[in-house]
Each structure stands twice: as C-alpha cells, then as structure tokens.
Amino acid sequence: MSFDLVANVVIAGVLTGLVYGLMALGLSVIFGVVRVVNFAHGEMMTIAMYGATMLFAAFQLDPFLAMLPVAAAFFVFGYVMQAGLINPFITRPEHSQFMLLVAVAIVMVNAMLMIFGPDARNVQLDYQLESFEIGKILLDKARLYAAAAAIVAAAALFLFFRFSLTGKAIRACADNYLGAKVVGLNVKKYYALTFGLGSACVAVAGCAMALLVDVTPALGPYYTLLAFVIVIVGGLGSMTGALLGGVLIGMSEALAGLFITPSAKSMFSFGLLILVLLLRPQGLLGRRS
C-alpha cells in the first residue's frame, strides 16, 4: 500500500468529514442552547439531500445553488417545529423529549419512503468526475467544493453567534435560562430561532452531501447515529468540537475502509465514541457543565 494512496484516502476522509461536521454542528448548536437531543437529525439531513436531488431533477439546479432555498425552507421548518412541538417539552423529562423526536423521526423516514420509494437517487454533474491534481494527490472537485461550503457555512454561523446581537442573546439563553428571562429575553423565541439555524446547517450539509453519495431513506437513522458520535467525540454544545469531530470521524471511516473492510468502518467510530465518553465525557473540546 503506497503512501500516495493513504494520503488520498485521508484527504478525502477529511473533506467528507467537514460536511459531516457541519451536519453535527446543527445538532450541537441545538443541544447547546435548547438542551434537547434531536433524534430526527439524520432524517432531516436526508430530507435536505432529497431536496437537492429534486431541485436538480426539476430545474437542473446545482446543489450549491439549491443550498439557499433548501436552507431557507429548513430554517422556517425548524423554527415552526421548535415553536409548535418542542417548546412545550423543554420542561419535561429527557425520555419524554426523546420519544417526541423519535416519533418525528419515524414519521419523517417513512414519509420519505412513501414519497420517494426505497431506490437510490443522485445528482449527476460534470465536475463530480473531475479532480485537481497536486503532485500525486488527487482532489475530487465535488468533495473539495462541498467541504468549502461546509467551512463557509460554519464560519458564518460562528460569526453570527460571536458578534450579532441576536447571536449574543441566544448564547445568553443557553448560559442561563432564568437570567435570560429576567433581563427580558423571549427565551422560547430564541430557542425556535436556534432550532431554525441548526436545521439550516443540516440543509446546507445535506445539499453538499447529495453531491457525494446516493440518497435513500435508510440514510436517515444512519446519519442520526453518525451525528451523535461526532458531537459526543467533539463535545456536545461545542461548535469547533463538532467540526473537529466530523473530521476525525470522516478520517477514521476512510482509513478503516481502506485498511480493514468498509463494512467495519462505523465500528471504529463507535469505538472512538465509547473511548471518548469514558475518558473525556465532555468531549474533546467540550466544557464540563
């Protein structure tokens, strides 16, 4: 096995991992603020991927352009879901929230099965077959663009939380629910806003992922688990942690696929998850609460 092959695989893993990271970022932001684990996260990701393939089939719209309408739709959807469904549940016990989102996930994944059937769909563009050559390293164009889009979206979200007034208000709600209420913030509105933003992240990640893999309804539960693994490894609630976790998992999946067997790749992710939970339960970049 040559060094070039390994390097190529690692780079492809890192690039895919960045898209995973953006998906997990949505989960992490939602958990960090609302303290609800979104068990329907992967299902939402899959819906976004279907959105991209449908817009492509109907209008030949490039998934990178489809990101805007899909993200906007997801933002509204997430906002409504938090405001209508989840807000009444924030004071309920964890298992109750869990059941709510599991029910949502069951409806989502089977609605996709009803509408799109079990067959795989994809997007076919010329540049998916092209790549940049740097020495002996080959960079798939689609993968590189997808990773770039993920970084841009993550950076935008990061700047929003860091500098905008709304972002600061959301962070206040996350830090201290009661305190935020006392100073007059409409906490539930900000929760809804956060869920909307988290959903928009998933939408962008889903559109990017539609370029890299074929979409089937069965991807939903798989991505949900993957997102869990990533945020736990990176640290639930930590934004940079989610990206780092995504890269680590993307890389470990790619390497396990190369050195052992592709079907065992998620065993390493779950092994990593167990290790991190035991040795550093707050995640690599998480803070202890």
Binding site: E94, S96, V107, N110
Partner: protein, 315 residues
C-alpha cells in the same frame, strides 16, 4: 386480575392462529418492556440499547442449538450470564466515570451498535447473512428443545409475562425498589442519605439485562432466524421501549398495557390500510408515528396512569 388471568389462559380456545400470534407478540413486548422498565422506570437509567441484550441472548442460545444441538434450557443460563456480564461492564464504565442522562443513553446506543457491527463480522454466527435455526415439528410439544406449535410459545410467553410482573411487583416493594426510586427522583439526595447508588444502579442493570436475555432466547426459538442488523438495531431498541413509555414508565401495568395498545394499533392500521387499498410502503409507520406523537404530547405520563385514574385503581 383473576379475571384477566383466566381470560388470557382461555384465549387460545377462542381465537384463530393469527390472533394467537398477535397475542404472543403483545406478551413478548409486554415482557421485554417490563424488563427495560426495571432499569428506566424504577432506577431512572435510560437505556436506548436494550437490543444488545436481546441480541446477545438470542445468539447465545441460538448458537448453542445450531452448532451443538444444546437446547435452550441450558443456553438460557449462559445467555443470562453473558448479558449480565455485558450489562455490568457497561454499567461499571458508565457509573464509575459519572456518565448519566443523555450521555448514558448515547453510550448504550454506542455499545449496541458496536456489538451489531461486531456480529456482522463473526462468521461463526452467520455474519450478516444471518443464522437460521432448524424449523422443527410444529405438531408436538418438544419442550426440551423448545420446539412446538404456536400454542406452546403463547403459553410460555404468558408464563414469562406473569413471572416478570410478579418479580417487578416484589422488587418495587423491596429495599432495592425503594432505593431505586430514591435514585431516580434525586440521585444526590439518595447518596447523601447513605445509599450506595453505584451498587444499586448496577443491580438494576444486571436484573434488567438478565430478564431481557430471556426474551432474546425466546426470540431465537420463536422466529428461528437471526440477523445482526435486525436484532441489534436501534429501531429494535426503540420498539422495545415504546410499550412502557406509552403505557406509563415506572408503573407495573404500563408496559403490559402499552404493548397491547401499540401492537393492536399497528395491526389495526395495517388492516384499515389494506381495507382502503392504500398499500404504499412506509404509510403504516407514518400513521403509527403520528399516533405516537399525539400520545406523547397529550399524555406525558403514559396511557395507563390516565386510565387507572379514570377507573379509580391505584397501581
């Protein structure tokens, strides 16, 4: 209670083979839900990876029978032993390192998934292609090898469900039961009162794992085929806990009641859709999910407490 017991014992005489299989399924979910309830309902530890114990139990007894022809009565003990060992390892790691709540739930998922992928690569157990037990004579009761007509499976599941109900009733009234409830309500306060929370939580995990192992053994000999991606899947874990969650977590009747409601509901939806001619894949689960959503939203403590209140029963 007595009436219900007589009804359930006499049931096979009154209904056809299809209804009997539905009743067996209800009892299976009632029993497994009861087992899960010991951990979550009594001690407050949310496990979302109980398919691990079903799978390990099923594969242990199944493999002994498949490879060596050893019947389930011996396999049962090994299955329970292995599941308790698995449970104690997970419990030890989680509780020693102070993992609780959401993190504990995710850890249990991780272990179940990890095991699923591991079993996918164990060729001795059939790997992803599955393991198939010989389907034997369906007319005679071969109790020794647990092969026989559907009636035998119905009665054995009825016996197990009744036994689990009895065990749980006793547990809830025992010292352990009170300690568990104290831990569930407020772990720090329980610890401050001198309860060794680690030890009692481990006990809850061990009992729950052992009970779930038995349902795995039943599964192996009732369905005769085992696939890692089915038996260990997260969907299975969720399926198992829907009964107690919908019925009422922490109650004795909840898991039984919830299993009956959900199984009949799922069956009813199938039949209603068939009658309407709407047979699109996925449509059944969409309706199922919607009903689940409505129950979770409007009956936060489950159906059984609401029903019990209406009937003025204290349970």
């Amino acid at each position: 209670m007595g009436l219900l017991a007589i009804l359930l014992i006499a049931l096979p005489a009154a209904v056809g083979p299809y209804a009997l299989s539905v009743a067996t399924l209800i009892l299976y979910f009632a029993y497994t839900g009861q087992a899960w309830n010991v951990m979550m309902g009594f001690a407050g530890q949310l496990s979302l990876g109980h398919s691990l114990y079903v799978g390990v139990g099923a594969y242990t007894a199944g493999a002994l029978f498949f490879h060596y022809g050893i019947g389930p009565w011996a396999g049962l003990w090994l299955a329970m032993l292995l599941c308790v060992a698995f449970g104690l390892v997970i419990g030890f790691l989680a509780f020693r390192f102070g993992i609780s709540g959401v993190y504990f739930a995710l850890l249990t998922i991780a272990f179940a998934e990890f095991t699923r992928i591991g079993f996918d690569h164990l060729d001795w157990l059939g790997g992803p292609g599955g393991m198939f037990l010989k389907v034997a004579q369906r007319d005679t009761w071969d109790v020794l090898n647990f092969r026989g007509p559907p009636l035998m499976y119905y009665y054995s599941m009825l016996f197990l469900t009744a036994l689990a109900f009895l065990i749980c009733t006793l547990l809830l009234k025992s010292r352990a039961g009170y300690y568990w409830q104290a831990i569930r309500e407020n772990e720090e306060a329980a610890q401050a009162l001198g309860i060794n929370t680690f030890r009692w939580k481990m006990l809850a995990v061990a009992i729950s794992a052992a009970m779930t192992a038995v349902s795995g053994v039943f599964f192996a000999f009732y369905y005769n085929n085992l696939f890692p991606h089915e038996i260990f899947s997260m969907n299975r874990s969720i399926e198992l806990i829907l009964g107690p969650v919908i019925g009422g977590i922490g109650t004795l009747f909840g898991p039984i009641f919830g299993a009956a409601v959900l199984t009949l509901l799922s069956d009813g939806i199938t039949e209603a859709l068939a009658a309407l001619g709407w047979e699109i894949p996925g449509i059944k689960q969409v309706f199922y999910g919607l009903v689940l959503l409505i129950v979770v939203m409007f009956l936060p403590h489950g159906i059984w407490p609401a029903v019990a209140k209406k009937l003025k029963i204290h349970a």
